[in-house]
Symmetry: C2
């Protein structure tokens, strides 16, 4: 399939809302930063709203973060847009009458879960504030180089 950039784009949206909080934040403007369409942005924002990360008001271009960016982690964002889907994909159609086919899903599944949790724990230790600050540092560093 096409690869999902929802997580990446969602972090983008949240950072954008915080950094440009004093401007008019239409889905059109945000879309121009992500280089995607306004509908894609609005769809993602719907999901973020349903998961309590932002507050929006229909008709007005004024989305706000629902929490302090220090209290929003990459994990919160990941779970909001990707849910608890498996990170590593099990083949769920194996022959149950074979010793391997009949047991590998359960066995591999536990190791997949361990690995996924190790990754998600990392995300739980990074806040939106960290992302924003690092973006701003990178931006300053760019200017110095010129």
């Amino acid at each position: 399939m096409r690869v999902s950039t929802r997580f990446s784009d969602s972090v983008h949206i949240l950072a954008f809302i915080e950094i440009y909080q004093d401007q008019k934040l239409s889905s059109e403007l945000i879309a121009s930063s992500i280089e995607t369409s306004p509908v894609v942005v609005r769809r993602l924002m719907s999901t973020l709203r349903e998961n309590g990360l932002i507050a929006t008001k229909k008709g007005t271009a004024e989305p706000k973060l629902s929490k302090n960016p220090r209290e929003i982690t990459l994990l919160d964002i990941y779970l909001a847009v990707e849910g608890d889907k498996q990170l590593f994909t099990l083949d769920t159609n194996t022959n149950p009458d074979c010793i391997v086919g009949g047991n590998i899903q359960k066995v591999l599944g536990t190791y997949y879960e361990d690995a996924k949790m190790a990754a998600l724990r990392k995300f739980n230790n990074v806040s939106l504030q960290d992302i924003i600050e690092t973006i701003l540092v990178e931006q300053k560093a760019k200017k110095v180089l010129k």
Copy 2:
């Protein structure tokens, strides 16, 4: 896109080869355990062979592991079939003229890499032997329950 089950199926193939090493191991037989087509199995086995995990001989149904299953880790298998592609997908098409769009790829990329590495380290601590033994334990447990 369709979700890849290459990793899962590759572990399946390797465990199958080891457990049934005394039988004739045609791609057809292995495919029947994975419930896929022989061509898919042969394609995966080509990749595993190119990466030094198995040895095959054209025309004969006798694939062998190239190493002791204690020396093959889930990470070896993962890298063989998935390469070093990113685990979490960055949107690589963002507006470079925007503070967020111009820096988020680099910033998020490092956190994605940290998370990916945390997951892959887990895989590096699990051997094919562990998988095989756990499969056999699960199989015995099933029989007792009957």
